[in-house]
Amino acid sequence: MAHDEISLTLKVWRQKGPNKSGNFETHSVKINTHMSFLEMLDVLNEQLIMQKKEPVAFEHDCREGICGSCSLVINGRPHGPMQGTTTCQLHMRHFQDGETIYIEPYRAKAFPVIKDLVVDRSAFDRIIQSGGYVSVNTGGVPDGNAIAIEMITAKRAFEAATCIGCGACVAACPNASAMLFTSAKVSQLSLLPQGRQEANQRVLNMVTQMDNEGFGLCSNVGACEAECPKGISLDNIAIMNREYIGASFISRRLANK
């Protein structure tokens, strides 16, 4: 069906390696509007391979919006123009025939470019490793209802837990701050009784690691919340702020360096 086909001009960021300088490369593609953004890049790469050129490196995995692997800044916005959508779930019907699309990697000092559109997001892994877990002694399986949790609390913790760690918050933040990610990972655990036990140590360690990674400071602009594909709330940042102030001034804990 011809009316489902559009022609696009792509300005794609190409960069051979971490410390190489990069530039925009211009390509034309003809694609079906029912494709996702990543399928459109697949078409581009097939085209490049046929021309015996190097395909564009980009990250992807589940392609159903839950793994957090895809990234990209599309026309200046992480995961593109649609709200609450990851790049893999962004469909080409939202673009116009003849449109020019800028495709760039996330830009942040803590997310260095590895190649083309792929950035190193292992800083997030190290933040999780510093405290984003609950220490559990394995033993008998406890009864499911042994610990009472109010629905409203369970819901808040769940909403924080929907963070897929894609890093769009950092890419959108004018300060490249990782506060929304880190705070979601703090409150998904600290709101619940099982996570409460280690809450002080967790927030001290995770904030320290976040700072060590070289992310910026939070100005409460709210760009992260607006661009987050999972709609993680700024409330989490307030929770982390008061947890951190409490853990610093009231608890007996110190951050592990």
Partner: protein, 225 residues
């Protein structure tokens, strides 16, 4: 005390410093604005000059004023250091070539706090040189008559324009800063946050508006002879 150093040098601690000093400066602004309304108390400025004399000599006020100078400097220096840290975290330069407007692009105040703060600092230096410095170290047109100095200053159109621009920058800085300070302290609650935001709006408009009445009033008075 390593824990305190860790806290104060952490990203969150540095923002807490901004928040607390900012809120302190907010309370100062109210006192300063209400005090200065004495300019309208009588036409010869007797009451205002009396008030200025009291503010300059009262030992308690003097002590608080040293705290005020310290907090202004702390807020400004920390703010500029945070700006530098944030620029470094972004990686410098122009960030994205694509320029579709994001939903938060409209929040110009939030994105330009450092720029607005620098404008306010420049305005503050001018303001202090005009009145505070001259009153303290000499240079007033009539010794001991600050009211007369205000009258002379605001007869100049450029002074009035600079003051009004300074107050617009202040209002924008406060529109974001007031409610942001509470978020930084972790004071966020579905029952109280709407109140804080409403109060922030009212504060950010009423206080600069209160200050703005002064240059406008004296300019109009001078204009009408």
């Amino acid at each position: 005390m390593k824990w305190l150093v860790n806290f104060l040098t952490s990203s969150l601690g540095r923002k807490v410093i901004m928040s607390l000093t900012g809120l302190f400066l907010c309370t100062f602004l109210v006192v300063h604005m209400i005090g200065n309304l004495k300019l309208f108390a009588d036409s010869d400025g007797h009451k205002f000059n009396e008030y200025a004399e009291f503010m300059a000599t009262n030992p308690l006020i003097k002590t608080v004023s040293y705290g005020l100078y310290f907090f202004i400097i702390l807020h400004a220096v920390q703010g500029l250091l945070i700006y530098a840290s944030n620029r470094a975290a972004v990686g410098g330069g122009r960030r994205y070539a694509g320029k579709q407007v994001a939903p938060t692009e409209a929040r110009a105040a939030a994105r330009n706090m450092a720029m607005l703060g620098t404008l306010i600092l420049a305005f503050l230096l001018l303001h202090m040189w005009q009145f505070w410095f001259k009153a303290k170290f000499g240079g007033l047109a009539v010794e001991g008559d600050l009211f007369n100095e205000v009258k002379i200053a605001f007869a100049e159109p450029w002074v009035v324009i600079v003051y009004l621009l300074g107050l617009v920058a202040l209002a924008m800085h406060l529109l974001h800063g007031f409610q942001s300070a509470f978020q930084t302290l972790g004071l966020n609650h579905p029952k109280y946050t709407p109140l804080i935001k409403g109060l922030g709006w009212a504060y950010s408009i009423l206080v600069p508006l209160g200050f703005a009445t002064m240059p406008i009033y004296f300019y109009v008075m001078a204009f009408n002879g």
